[in-house]
Symmetry: C2
């Protein structure tokens, strides 16, 4: 029998991390619906993120997608092991339809080839970049697509 407290579910652990270290995620009202190395889903309420038209502010949509990509890479690198620093290098967001209700940013695993290329780059240089795609859904409609390039550095 162990005295260690039970480890929280990955969703709980990620949400605690985000709210503790990136306080704006709490103001966005971001909650973690799914947190695996293959898929991250973050949800935010319309209320905190509403704009002058009663739909979700583009800046909030963009921020939630950036967090989803960051979180996916964070979880994949936890699975790899070691200490890492992750930064975003660039992103593009296409706003396709107004988000008229609560919205969700879903980031999926990169293509296996893209991930292999990333790991090979890290092996040689101690850092690598990876392109991640996410989409933001509201009421089943794709409100936005997101493409982000992240750089991860292995720390000593």
């Amino acid at each position: 029998m162990s005295d260690a407290a039970p480890r929280p579910a990955p969703e709980v652990a990620l949400q605690r991390y985000l709210h503790a270290h990136m306080p704006i995620s709490g103001h966005l009202g971001a909650t973690v619906a799914e947190a695996t190395p293959d898929r991250v889903r973050l949800v935010a309420p319309l209320g905190a993120n509403v704009n002058h038209r009663g739909t979700a502010f583009g800046g909030s949509i963009s921020a939630l997608a950036i967090l989803a990509g960051w979180s996916l890479l964070h979880l994949r690198l936890q699975a790899v092991g070691g200490s890492w620093r992750i930064v975003i290098q660039r992103n593009t967001v296409e706003y396709l339809a107004p988000a008229e209700s609560d919205f969700e940013a879903e980031c999926a695993a990169p293509d296996p080839g893209e991930w292999e290329r990333f790991l090979a780059m890290v092996e040689v240089r101690g850092r690598g970049r990876v392109d991640l795609a996410a989409r933001v859904l509201s009421n089943g409609v794709v409100a936005a697509t997101f493409a982000g390039r992240y750089v991860a550095m292995r720390l000593p």
Copy 2:
């Protein structure tokens, strides 16, 4: 002598509008440093927008730039007159350096040719799109560049 209350400075009016209609702008701590049809500068504190590395979160940088572009177009269309709806269609952000202190998003007027093209499009179709550029500065360093495409519709 008029009974009308004095009109607030454009900076005060814009800040009130943003905080009232896009509540996340208040959580970002966004304040309006300059608000003219030729330049908008919005400032945000590091504290509310800090990330796990002690620098500004990319999503906050992105959101402040989106707001700066929206605000510039809002002010230019106020000068044109009439009622308008402004939406963002796409944006790209390049994160060039960490923002290690309070940061500012500065959006300048589009090229005169770009603006004429926009007004001509509105004349024909009642709506037009315009590309705006902004940069985000922190401690005199360009932390990010932003390119946004906005669409404005003239309302009846």
